[in-house]
Symmetry: C2
Subunit: 469 residues, 2 copies
């Protein structure tokens, strides 16, 4: 019986207990059900239950099974939703945060890569890229690829999205140099300097930097750490302050990992149509839904091209490719023009090699395995947190993606501890990065994209020992 196994089950049960999952009766599933449904051995299940009983969290009734002892409806595990200031403001990202952002882009708490996962898919990918480099090299050296991208790659991306219930025409796709580039040209296409853009709070810091450079004003909109953007808050704010665009990550947003319910998605699109603003959907985590889920893009519900979808392979396959895409909706022509103006074209060889990789099904096969790895790494991280700091932190439990949003006691300022943590060789991503108005001082983001090696476990411990004092 591995230590991880019973700790994992203990974690799952504790989480369900706190979330009042077993109400109204308070009865836990039977030992046999736990074995069968979750795939644990009987010994593991009994060990976990005995530990929770010893802790006083559950009790057993003879011939009836286990019941929740203390029902604590207010003991919510998730971090708080914060209401950001209402009025539009300029975005000014302090230089110190820009440094921190750059280091945080790898989502790793270690400054240099430790052990990493299996790389068979990358060997296959690189074989296809090399093959593409060898094909018609002179032609590629002397002629630019179509600015909007390679037709085969566009086809392959569109085909991939069909598995997520989105039907688009390849002629409506523009290939970019990654998702940041996609977001940049989408904001340039839809807004002019001085315009106001709504952004969920907490927000992806890359978007804040784009807005600063494009001289756009921001309205931060409240977002639930588990369910994402509050459409009610958005609707209320834009009555007073009209917006040109709203940037949203409905699927497993960074930093929270939130997933927007379908009802909220439909409400958001209706609002965009009614008030005539553009929705820019950041779908970079959309492929990373944990089984059995599949995450449909918001754009699926888009009636008339009001949604611009931006995506990339950087989080789901490789950051080395520098390939992203935009489904530009109404703004497709303008976006293609901006692709040309900002970068002329993308590498034909890279696009062709990647297209073959997609066409042959390697990407889908890799994803199917990768989401299980991520889910497992998420569980391990949650367990580590539960074992050591369950009384001191609240965190999000996402159903996909790579991000966990952690709330600490209000007396703790994560950004202020940044350098002290860095001296320990640990890279923290403080919550203040994700706000344009100084929120989230007692928050931080952790990621489970990297395996929780002993070295990383030690780093997490160092991190919290500095933060919690």
């Amino acid at each position: 019986m591995s230590q991880f196994k019973y700790l994992e089950l203990e974690h799952l049960l504790r989480k369900d207990i706190r979330a009042n999952h077993f109400l109204p009766s308070g009865k836990l599933p039977s030992v046999r059900e736990l074995c069968q449904n979750l795939g644990f051995s009987k010994a593991t299940v009994l060990h976990a239950l005995h530990r929770l009983e010893a802790e006083g969290l559950i009790f057993s009734k003879p011939k009836s099974g286990y019941f929740v002892k203390t029902v604590t409806p207010n003991d919510r595990l998730s971090p708080k939703r914060i209401n950001p200031p209402a009025a539009p403001r300029d975005v000014t990202v302090p230089a110190i945060l820009k440094d921190i952002m750059t280091r945080s882009a790898a989502f790793d708490i270690l400054p240099t890569a430790g052990a990493t996962n299996d790389a068979n898919h990358l060997i296959t990918l690189n074989r296809h890229l090399s093959k593409a480099l060898r094909s018609r090299p002179t032609q590629k050296a002397l002629y630019y690829n179509d600015s909007s991208g390679d037709m085969r790659l566009k086809d392959a991306i569109v085909t991939h999205y069909r598995h997520r219930s989105l039907n688009q025409d390849p002629s409506q796709v523009c290939i970019t140099g990654g998702c940041q580039h996609a977001l940049f040209i989408s904001l340039m296409a839809t807004c002019s300097p001085g315009d106001t853009v709504a952004v969920e709070s907490p927000a992806f810091y890359g978007v804040l930097q784009i807005m600063e450079q494009l001289k756009l004003k921001i309205i931060e909109v409240a977002a639930d750490p588990e369910e994402g953007l509050s459409v009610d808050d958005l609707a209320e704010k834009i009555t007073e302050w009209p917006i040109k665009a709203c940037i949203v990550s409905p699927n497993y947003a960074t930093p929270t990992g939130a997933f927007m319910p379908e009802k909220a998605r439909r409400a958001l699109i209706n609002l965009a149509v009614e008030k005539d603003f553009c929705i820019i959907e950041d779908d970079i985590y959309g492929d990373l839904a944990f089984p059995p889920f599949t995450a449909e893009p918001l754009k699926k519900f888009d009636p008339n091209g009001q949604v611009i979808l931006c995506g990339s392979f950087s989080k789901s396959l490789s950051r080395d490719l520098r390939i992203g895409w935009v489904f530009g909706g109404k703004w497709h022509d303008k976006i293609t023009q901006l692709k040309l103006v900002t970068q002329l074209s993308s590498s034909e060889s890279i696009q062709q090699g990647l297209a073959t990789f997609l066409e042959e099904g390697h990407y889908r096969r890799y994803l199917a395995q990768q989401v299980n790895t991520l889910k497992q790494q998420q569980r391990e991280l949650m367990m580590l947190l539960d074992i050591h700091w369950s009384d001191n932190i609240r965190y999000t439990h996402a159903q996909g993606g790579i991000s966990m949003w952690i709330e600490l006691d209000e007396s703790i300022n994560t950004q202020r501890s940044y350098n002290k943590v860095l001296e320990q060789g640990v890279i923290m991503t403080p919550g203040s990065l994700f706000s344009a108005s100084g929120q989230y001082k007692n928050f931080l983001r952790l990621s489970y994209i990297h395996p929780l090696t002993e070295q990383r476990q030690a780093a997490v411990k160092k991190l919290f020992s500095v933060l919690l004092g």
Copy 2:
């Protein structure tokens, strides 16, 4: 005796005669000198001289040699310099020109690539790229490369520039996604919407498109087709209308191939320091100086970081790499920030493979051969033009680069003939592309970057038969 040989000599002599090169005496070099200095056979030299004599351009004096018969100081071979309008204006690029620009980016008059030059250097390059892809793939997949670029590549680029008398520190280089990207972030770093930028006329159309998107105003500055930007015209204009930046290609600018004399370069930099504007140097053709020349960048004379140099491998090595660079001077930090905001980072594998290619001397070896190829292709194109249309056109004779600027009779409108030429399967680059104020209607750009195959010769003939009626 090949036909090309005597036609080539005939062309050279005719050009020198028209340029009054043999004044004051009017005496041509002796037959022996022509043989020795230019490497032609005696038969070729005599044949060419006899043809020029028959044409009435030269005459022989017994025991003295050949002399110029008609000295025509006004019969200048080069196209006219045009004085663009003075006041700053918004840039609006018509949609039809955007289509034409996209097709013209390959510099080829054929829509699909015909025969191309030797590709050994590309095989070597691609071998290095593939090797880099195989090195530490997981690391590269999971971690972003430093936003400002790979240190080895920056070192290699700086080392390369030393051969052109420019000494820069690698820490002052930012790697970009090509020269267009470099120009884009340089303009973003130095200007705000509504600011005025000086651009030489004729101008690179990619810059006009950037300025349109960034909502910058343009002052077009007169430029000589052979000697580039007129610093006098610039100095006069900015007295009345202050500028934030001036974009200039001192080395073999497209479309003219002009090369700025050193005196003008120094005057330009003095003016920039005095009037406090930024010079953005587009150095994309700087490596393509024809022997025995080497082209020093303008930035060599830069006293205090007033010049931003933008370059790329797209014209000199491969358009498939999508790698360019900026030496940002005073604006380096801001430019690096904008690289991050617009594209996050560049592919580490591509940068590393390219760095090895440079370090091992392959790029310099290839360039040494390529400039001779370009020079030869330029000669062939000039001969073709001289044989068929010497009375109807004026063109530039650049000492490097890939562009020739051609002036036709004022009654001819090249843009209006664009579709008629296209129907013949020929892609023309009309002069109007290179102006923001409707100039150069009777101009066009031709390139000699591609071998002048029979197919391309036929295309040039079709082009002028449509244009000249």
